[in-house]
Symmetry: D3
Subunit: 249 residues, 6 copies
């Protein structure tokens, strides 16, 4: 019975507890889902500053999740904050994140994808991940809604209209074959959009969560976990103890 924890990496109340309901709908029957968020922090991570601030708490949350015996943690922000560090400090728990999962899936469904984002500010940050994960050649375009993270659900009808308009442009003009919703807070829109434009629309929460289930299955069956050689070699416990790292942060 795989146990997966979805972390909304903002505080102090999480951006959207509704996400828990979404997860309950999409999980495999045998999976147990938990939803958590950070105790403190900004309410969105559009800025690198905000993102940097929450990473230590996020990493310790992930460490706790592993120590409590869970099978996977899902980092709930499309910037994939802390993903590499999380894979470094976990012993054999699965950690997934929305952008990585979405890029992998989208590139299986078509030659080129477009990412619908809120603001142009996000482009450089997401591009860093695109390049780092090796998918820059699959990008058709970024399409910008001119909305902040917290605006997507204030007028869902309007958001839906804008999404349809931008997704259509991406397909028609930029030759996108797949659409990725470039923010976890765009949850709840993929289905109508997909029906409207008739190409796959990847919801990044779903992508990250289902990949978590999948990777847990692979780990349990085949022993496949993050390689601990080189990149993700773990920091030694002696150092962490000697410097009292867990206490001082």
């Amino acid at each position: 019975m795989p146990q997966i924890v979805y972390i909304d990496p903002v505080g102090p109340e999480g951006a959207c507890p509704l996400i828990k309901d979404e997860l309950d709908k999409i999980k495999r029957r045998e999976t147990r889902v938990e939803f958590t968020h950070l105790k403190r922090g900004p309410q969105h991570l559009e800025y690198r500053y905000y993102e940097s601030l929450i990473i230590p708490d996020l990493l310790h949350t992930i460490k706790d999740i592993e120590e409590k015996g869970n099978d996977a943690a899902v980092i709930g922000c499309f910037y994939d904050p802390g993903l590499s560090a999380a894979r470094e400090i976990t012993r054999n728990m699965v950690v997934t994140a929305p952008a990585e999962a979405s890029f992998h899936l989208a590139s299986k469904y078509g030659s080129k994808f477009s990412i619908i984002i809120g603001r142009e500010k996000w482009i450089a940050r997401i591009t860093e991940n695109l390049i780092n994960y090796g998918f820059e050649d699959k990008l058709a375009s970024f399409k910008t809604l001119e909305m902040g993270v917290l605006d997507f659900h204030t007028d869902p009808k309007h958001t839906e209209e804008k999404l349809k308009e931008k997704a259509l442009e991406a397909v028609k003009e930029d030759k996108a074959e797949v659409i990725i919703l470039g923010c976890t807070m765009q949850f709840g829109f993929y289905k109508q959009l997909q029906e409207h434009i008739n190409v796959p629309v990847i919801d990044p929460i779903i992508a990250a969560f289902k990949y978590a289930e999948f990777l847990v299955e692979l780990r349990n069956s085949f022993g496949w976990i993050t390689s601990k050689k080189y990149t993700f070699e773990m920091p030694p416990d002696e150092e962490i103890d000697k410097w009292k790292i867990r206490e001082i942060y």
Copy 2:
């Protein structure tokens, strides 16, 4: 109850019916697996010529598999023969293949992977796929066993020794963090190898098969299928009928 057909794309008896047993061991409980091979053809596909020859039969096999109501077809050769054409002609059935699946998985487990192949001849063909799928920057090295496809199981002990030697070189000298077995006929070796070198070793049959299950689940739950816009637009039935394509091949 997902039904998945694994196709050993050689003839006239398949390269290895034992693969069926492997699949039975690794499938999810609810999955139904079928194993098939081509009625005619060479016994391995190391040459582009052999690969080209079997693709039409393979595509028609896949078309039949979809028409019989199956959920996925797995193409059982690490060159991924006919993968793009198969995605073009299938309506909404999942099609997966070993190299694509292995590259995706390996890049989730580490920064760089090495691929263990039989002969240097294979490098150009596999590199084409690496580039096409976008993973060329993840390659640490190719390591060559100096064996043909049909040699891997003649003296399994010897193959295992060579695999260990080459995998270790890949990790030590080329800084690979993950190993991919670069031929479906290297089945049966990943586990001991993984224990020996202590980094993930991806068996390409398992990768392709488990991805098939995963993508069927995603399709059934979220409607995600190969985009039919541009690259994978289907050939029109009228042309196929008018030119009697199905009859003449």
Copy 3:
């Protein structure tokens, strides 16, 4: 006296026997040209499925052409179907194809070229070749006529107008310095177009055919043929005989 066979890789009557007349006009005096097509098959290759189907017949046609003592075979489709396999199975006969020849020539005449194609569907397939041959950085743009392969000669006046419009856009907006006609069925148009827009316009049939003559000359004078080391190593005759490959296909 070089003997070159142009293969129209469609069936059952070839797409356009008129091409023979074109070739007679452009060949060197001493060259002998033959025109052939496949005995069966679709009438165009816009889909990967069609392309995959004809490759075995095409390869056997090429094999026969070599065995009859010819010096070169030209594959008459801008997707360059089967080119690598053909170079693998030929002993020392020259094999050329339109896209490869056109990219090489165009990059000698200017910094950037645009390719005028029929439909957006073709972009992914041609891009695969662009990347494989190493010319992706030379591409200014694809320009689409919104026509199928079989439409180019139904109203040649209209086609010519569209070609002029798109070529001009390519030069003005996309900064193309050379134009490539991206389909062998666009034969007959390059000259007027070239005079109209005043930059070189590469006809892919001419490019492939003249390269064939050129490479035959180089082979005869300097012994330069496809390297049989690694990529294009030939499949062994013993396997082909043992598996009765030539009989069963």
Copy 4:
């Protein structure tokens, strides 16, 4: 009178107060240098976990440095931790870091550089920066000393010998034309090494510090500062206040 603060981003006592003396020797006469470190934290940042932990404190230190009227902050670790976030939150203060500065300088002195690092673990992290800054094509090789950050000064004679051996290999075998010392804790070695191998050896502390002086001069004379458009747009003060960001971290 430019005022520059060098931050040793470890705690609780800094890795090496001796660096202050180095800076006093290399600064322009009119520059005023301050040396600071973090109040808490690990003693080196070889792991992404450690690096992630210190970034919030580092950013707030930088913010304070700007608010106190300084002209530049230098981040004293070759991973360039927090550099982008620091440029996002500073109004017009200069922020520099060792890897970025070293790559820029090295590529002015030769076609290819090698980076001498402590352990292979560092390669993936530094490669991320190489790619992000656009210098991956300038890399000749990484050379590994098999030492941790804290080992470089335990037996300086031995370190110097190893540095000479590895630098020579880089020049002879990997065709490096310039050497970069890939850790700020390799300070004190560049001069002898440079004389020994007779190619430029970049000390990353010097590179970062001198770039800071240079960029302050450019800012004061020409108004050139980090662009606040898109990538480095600042987080709004209202949000920071409303969410009490400065208080809770």
Copy 5:
């Protein structure tokens, strides 16, 4: 007291002696500036032909400048003519050039820059340098003023208007975060433009000159000069003497 010579690499009177006044305004107090030009030659270098013609005279001018004991030479044309050759033949004098200096600086101020040029003809030449220096991924766009080099100062008001229009387009449409003026003859405009569009605007003369001062300081303090290993190995004096190179050119 650093002595720097700015070379206007055209003849017979230089394109613009006013540049001397600009340099006097921007130099450090202790720097001594000299301005020179070639004795013969075209009045601009928009064509490769013109550029090729002046390089020998330019190189000999640079050689003389070094022999007279100067510390740096600045090549005053955005094509950076002869830069590599100049670094090859100078013993330890600094040589800088506008494009290289501008690309380095611009990439420190933002993720993407646009270059404002006079005519589309220049794109291929500047792109060669972009790629050669490793900054092609930082380019947002070229923006063309449709003016020749000698037109920029005939109606400065008009030039300023066009610059504002094009720079604004670059920022709005192409997402440039920094603007580079792509010709030394665009001197005198950066300040107003920068105030108008509110992103850094790099004047290439300033960039090259200030880099020269900076690199002289680094050379004098740390011994960093162009590596004489491989790429910039000097031609041997014996050959130059034996072949009377200095006499015959």
Copy 6:
């Protein structure tokens, strides 16, 4: 009757008049070959300085060759000095050069080629052309003979032995499928080498000369010449006259 002039771009007597005999042997019957060299200049071009010096004389030689009614000029140095400028100033005469011609041909004969050069110093210069022409991904390796340009023919037996050794290494270790001789002064060796290692060995003089014949044929038959749009737009005669360019150089 095509008239082609081969230019040995050194002085005052050319590096090797024997090349004329080679050309007479390899030309088509109807071609008329002339051999020329520069009136002054260094005896080899290994340094950028030497290369820069001879380009103006070379360009004027080429201009004269066109004005005298010739059909093509071949630049006889593997650095391809002045190739772009030569294409800019010629009206419709063909200009070819050894590296460009060799890269194009080699990539038709195999997936990867190695270039055998004299000294490591050459790597950066040749790499610039590899990248500029778009063939960097086809390079297997550079192999260095540790000889200068003028040494190749002092002891031909020894040169041949070294060539065989290095070419074999390239094929065995670096997986080269084709060998390019990376200096025109390596003429006379390709045939024995080719027979010895059994992969195509490209002599760069032959490649450049035969391409010249080929491109003249294409020009005469199809009107294909260097595009005069953008990159190779000619400098205006009025400027050249007004500035007395032809007189002063």
